[in-house]
């Protein structure tokens, strides 16, 4: 069985580390990573807990396929009650850290309490200890990783840490590993910082050797890799152009939220697209994109590695930003660019570097800057308050805010609170483009109707990774549906949400789903873990995970009224493009969705639903 079978429990208040056996019944009921760690979390933590109190817990969890031969099998998730949202939070990261933890012999680490002083956890196979983090507190992620490796004389150590944003209370601080891979959303890094936990450094040399049926597993993973290789999206499109190739697609179809969702098309989209990253710059003749990069075990390699023009105003005389590092992905490029009307690719890349360097979610940051620029445009916020002329389209303002926000300085302190709190403070709460306090990603639900329902019902607040109906409504995966209609979207959203919960619990990347279905994942899980993981059982597990998360949110105080969208999206029609004249038809989709889910009209799973799912 591909689970390591061990949980590391760290009590930060007492300064203790203890090993305990993995609950194998729960492992069969929830697989691993998102599902299994959330099960531990909801069993151990009062849903009403203040996310930043010592009573909140935070879990780093791998899936059974993490660290194995399965393609993309390097994922881990960070599970807690989100600082930004107050809802269940589960943020997923790639890179190499997850596989390293698994190869050290651990499925997950549960942190409880709060340390009296900054500490970091070091794991070397079975040995785990908390150490004084005084030498790295106040440092960026980019400084922390090499400092820990040097201190322990172990260059192969992998580090998952927070930067300045997590220390200074930015509510959307990220947890970053391998310099630029991040568990980005909902403020999981903020919770980590609130516990005075700076980093988790891991070295694992055991491998993952306890595969249930190794021969069947090799056959299943080889077949699944061939599916990824032969598929034009995962075999060619993603490695060559990355996620950023969506910029022009979404803009052309009139679903690119622009200037805080005032518009649905951005005339600067082409300047910040994947194609632009491939073009030699006029200034120095070099391309923004240096190469693509893969995470552990990945046969897709969608990651972007970029270099900024050394003469660009953001990095002049700042050689620390001249190297190749994590480049723009689509969601970040949108949030830092179109959401603010900024079409300067180098400035966007710089702001993205800052988000990686200091551990900050570029989606929530960029979208909050979009709200600030709208308030500035309305005259509610002034240049004196902000310290800069913050007109839409100002690359200077974007770069300035990025540096202030990640350090919690000046007006950056307010941007660090997210758009919900900021717009409420200045008397315009309707201008926060968020659900459950979390900012939207890069799809306008007036032009892609199903995404409105996916956002409204996402258990971690507005999110594209909980039910990515864009795959169907835009890209035709697995079948093409009309993005401009609401009919059929309730079932589509539910199907995507449940299937995604399985992939997020297995230890593999959700991008495999552009080529794989559950039928490709099932033989890998069954061979690695248990033949109880049939197609029927996996379908049920996905639904079980979704309902478990929902129940936690309901206990935390969320109701059906929180399954909502900002007024702008349901009352202000799209001005241009194919969706011109349309608002999102959430009211037409939500009742059917509740019915399909087996929930009552208040959005609560019925007794029958819970019994059917074993909740």
């Amino acid at each position: 069985m591909a689970w390591a079978g061990k949980v590391l429990r760290v009590n930060l208040t007492a300064g203790t580390c203890a090993s305990e056996p993995l609950n194998m019944q729960w492992a069969r009921d929830y697989i691993g990573q998102r599902g299994l760690a959330t099960k531990y979390f909801v069993e151990e933590v009062d849903a009403k807990v203040d996310p930043l109190s010592p009573d909140n817990k935070i879990i780093w969890a791998t899936g059974p396929l993490t660290g194995t031969m399965a393609s993309t099998g390097g994922r881990y998730s960070v599970i807690t009650k989100g600082a930004l949202t107050g809802a269940i939070a589960c943020s997923n990261s790639g890179g190499y850290w997850g596989a390293e933890l698994k190869m050290a012999g651990w499925d997950m680490i549960i942190f409880e309490g709060k340390s009296a002083k900054p500490v970091y956890l070091v794991i070397e196979n079975d040995k785990a200890e908390l150490l004084d983090a005084a030498f790295i507190w106040g440092k960026s992620v980019w400084e922390t990783e090499p400092a820990i490796k040097a201190k322990h004389q172990e260059p192969q150590m992998r580090v998952s840490s927070i930067g300045r944003a997590g220390e200074t209370g930015c509510l959307y601080a990220a947890v970053v590993n391998d310099l630029h891979r991040a568990a980005g959303r909902s403020g999981v890094g903020t919770v980590m910082g609130s516990k005075n936990l700076k980093a988790i450094a891991v070295r694992g040399t055991k491998g993952v050797g306890n595969i249930r049926d190794f021969k069947a597993f090799m056959a299943a993973t080889t077949a699944a890799k061939k599916v990824l290789h032969d598929n034009a999206v995962t075999g060619q499109g993603l490695p060559m152009y990355g996620t950023q190739v969506l910029m022009n697609v979404i803009n052309t179809m009139g679903a690119l939220p622009t200037r805080n969702h005032r518009d649905v098309q951005f005339d600067g989209a082409k300047d910040i697209s994947a194609e632009a990253m491939h073009e030699p710059r006029k200034t120095d003749g070099k391309k923004n994109l240096v190469t693509n990069q893969a995470c552990f075990g990945c046969t897709i390699a969608c990651g972007r590695i970029s270099k900024i023009d050394e003469t660009h105003f953001t990095v002049q005389n700042r050689p620390q930003y001249w190297g190749a590092s994590g480049g723009l992905e689509y969601e970040a490029a949108w949030a830092l660019g179109a959401a603010n009307g900024v079409n300067d690719l180098e400035a966007l890349t710089f702001a993205n570097f800052i988000c990686n360097e200091h551990g900050m979610d570029p989606i929530s940051f960029g979208a909050t800057v979009g709200a600030v620029m709208e308030l500035y445009d309305m005259g509610v916020l002034t240049k004196e308050q902000l310290g800069i002329d913050a007109r839409y389209g100002s690359a200077e303002a974007l770069a300035y805010f990025a540096e202030l926000t990640c350090k919690g300085e000046g007006f950056g302190k307010e941007i660090a609170q997210g758009s919900k709190r900021l717009t409420a403070k200045y008397g315009h709460p309707d201008l926060s483009m968020s659900v459950k306090g979390q900012e939207f990603p890069a799809y306008d639900s007036r032009g892609i109707q199903g995404m409105g329902l996916a956002y409204a019902t996402s258990n971690r607040g507005a999110c594209h990774l909980r039910g990515y109906t864009v795959a169907s409504e835009v890209l035709g995966i697995p079948v093409k549906t009309d993005p401009l209609v609401t009919e059929g979207k309730a079932g589509l959203v539910k199907a995507f949400q449940d299937a995604t919960a399985v992939f997020d619990s297995a230890g593999v990347c959700v991008f495999t789903t552009f080529a794989w279905t559950l039928a490709d994942l099932q033989p890998q899980l069954a061979a690695a873990c248990s033949d109880e993981f049939t197609m029927d059982e996996l379908g049920k597990i996905g639904e079980r995970v979704w309902n478990m998360e929902r129940e936690f949110n309901n206990r935390a105080g969320f109701t059906h009224k929180d399954d909502n969208l900002p007024k702008r999206l349901t009352t202000e029609p799209a001005k241009t493009g194919p969706a011109k004249g349309l608002v999102n038809g959430l009211d037409k989709m939500l009742p059917e969705y509740y019915q399909l889910r087996g929930w009552d009209p208040q959005g609560r799973p019925t007794k029958e639903t819970k019994a059917r799912l074993g909740l």
Binding site: V245, N248, V249, E275, Y330, E331, G476, K480, D482, P578
Partner: protein, 88 residues
């Protein structure tokens, strides 16, 4: 009638430098097409490889593969084509 052809991602390599006496700019090429020309007419004219013609939008609206031969273009239409791609 005037139609603008836009090719993206790997398909940009298939955009001719000029046609109908006009030069391409970036990934765009303005075309003069006869009345009645369809989406498929343009795809055939530039020999765009079938496996790379995946996401076809006219003025931002998706044209299903089976409808490409019948979808007549109109003056000032924008025909945009992508190979198989995805993101998120």
């Amino acid at each position: 009638m005037r139609v603008t052809l836009k090719l993206y991602a790997m398909l940009r390599d298939h955009l001719p430098a000029e046609a109908d006496g006009r030069r391409s700019a970036g990934n765009e090429l303005p075309l003069d097409m006869a009345e009645g020309a369809t989406v498929q007419t343009v795809i055939d004219r530039f020999n765009l490889p079938a496996k790379l013609v995946h996401l076809v939008l006219v003025n931002g609206v998706y044209v299903y593969p089976q409808a490409r031969g019948a979808h007549a273009l109109a003056d000032n239409d924008e025909l945009a084509i992508w190979p198989p791609i995805a993101g998120g």
